[in-house]
Symmetry: C2
Subunit: 225 residues, 2 copies
Amino acid sequence: MTPAQQPPGETRPGGRTARTRAAVLDAVEAELSEGGFAALSMERIAQRSGIHLATLYRRWRSVEGLVCELLTEASTGIPLPDTGSLPEDLRLLARRIGTFYTAAPMRRLVEAVVSSAARIPRADTVLADFFHDRLQVAGGLVRRGIERGEVPPDTDPEAVMSALGAPFYYRILIARGPVDADLAESTATAVWAATLAGAYRVGGATPVVGRATPVVGRQRTDRTD
Amino acid sequence: MTPAQQPPGETRPGGRTARTRAAVLDAVEAELSEGGFAALSMERIAQRSGIHLATLYRRWRSVEGLVCELLTEASTGIPLPDTGSLPEDLRLLARRIGTFYTAAPMRRLVEAVVSSAARIPRADTVLADFFHDRLQVAGGLVRRGIERGEVPPDTDPEAVMSALGAPFYYRILIARGPVDADLAESTATAVWAATLAGAYRVGGATPVVGRATPVVGRQRTDRTD
DNA sequence: ACCCTAACGCGAAATCGCTCGCGTTAGTGT
DNA sequence: ACACTAACGCGAGCGATTTCGCGTTAGGGT
């Protein structure tokens, strides 16, 4: 039988292979920044990078495959703060996410990958894995806060980090408005307040009863209406 | 000169035109529910609806155009509650959004439209307009709360409603996990707490200083660091 | 009840995206 | 330094999508 036949770029990843990869990904990024995902085609990428069309198809199968690879490249995008204070960390991270997505290129990349995920299964898993990993490590930020006793110990770190990211992606993908500093501030404030209120506990949120909320502590409401 | 030549379906919207439209949109919805956007093609829609392929292309140009039209159809999706209490309304609405997106069909539609928006300009504007309108009317919910004095008077209604929606779309499009009741509860709690904390004020959020938050009232912090 | 034409059905034709087979180039191991 | 072969360049070719021109059907106005 044939020995599994893995796709190009795997068995001999050095030298020329690496160069073409870099050239292609650069071209994709540039094209994406200029015209967005709509104007992105294998043809254009081939011309811009100087790499032959057939090679592109061989290694990446489709434009979707290309933007997926570009996403995995961008892993080292936003560094996680560690100031010793969770609310400070949240605010700082929100600002970094904000500035990260204020510029068009990364916005476009997210659009492209999400768009791809709806079309090819591979992009779906790449996207899911990417953010799953990122959420995992970002959760460390919250875990340190728990250890310091800043928030309820049963706070779900990933839920908090999801809440911190969500508004930005909502703005980019749904509301389709600009990401600005106000959004970052608002989000940081909101997430911190919500965390204190116990909205992100592991077994589901404990509802805030009535009006004024006893904000700290581990209040429990056993109503199950 | 030729008299502008508007696309089919505009000048004579009754009778047969309306029937084909209905048949086609039904087919799109069905196909979308079953196979998702990836499996959606003009060919399949034509077969399923019994409408000829050429007609589809004439009226809607592409699958993206079709899902756009389907979105505008789904306007009457989630009714807005009005219980007389903002936190109750928020929780109820969150639950409705939750159940709405728990089932696959609407999830798929959102995926499809967002995916389309990255590719054709028309979808971009359709999506933006749709959610802009929806945010506008949903904001009434918050405005009533302001009139009742439940939240700070300078609360931004649309910001609150964005915050209520964001986690669901994050879950669907980014985290790619299931939308469940927990998410709805968590979101409702979080948004209410954040609103009380003043995270969604019109001129940008007033940061929550320090640890315990004076939750009600209109505290002001003039620090601008 | 009649005409007018928008919208549709039909099949052929053109276009586009994508793949395939073969020769060439350049890493990599000995 | 040499051999081996992964990865690339090239252009023809295939299939699927999209369009076109024409005849037909059926609303809407008078």
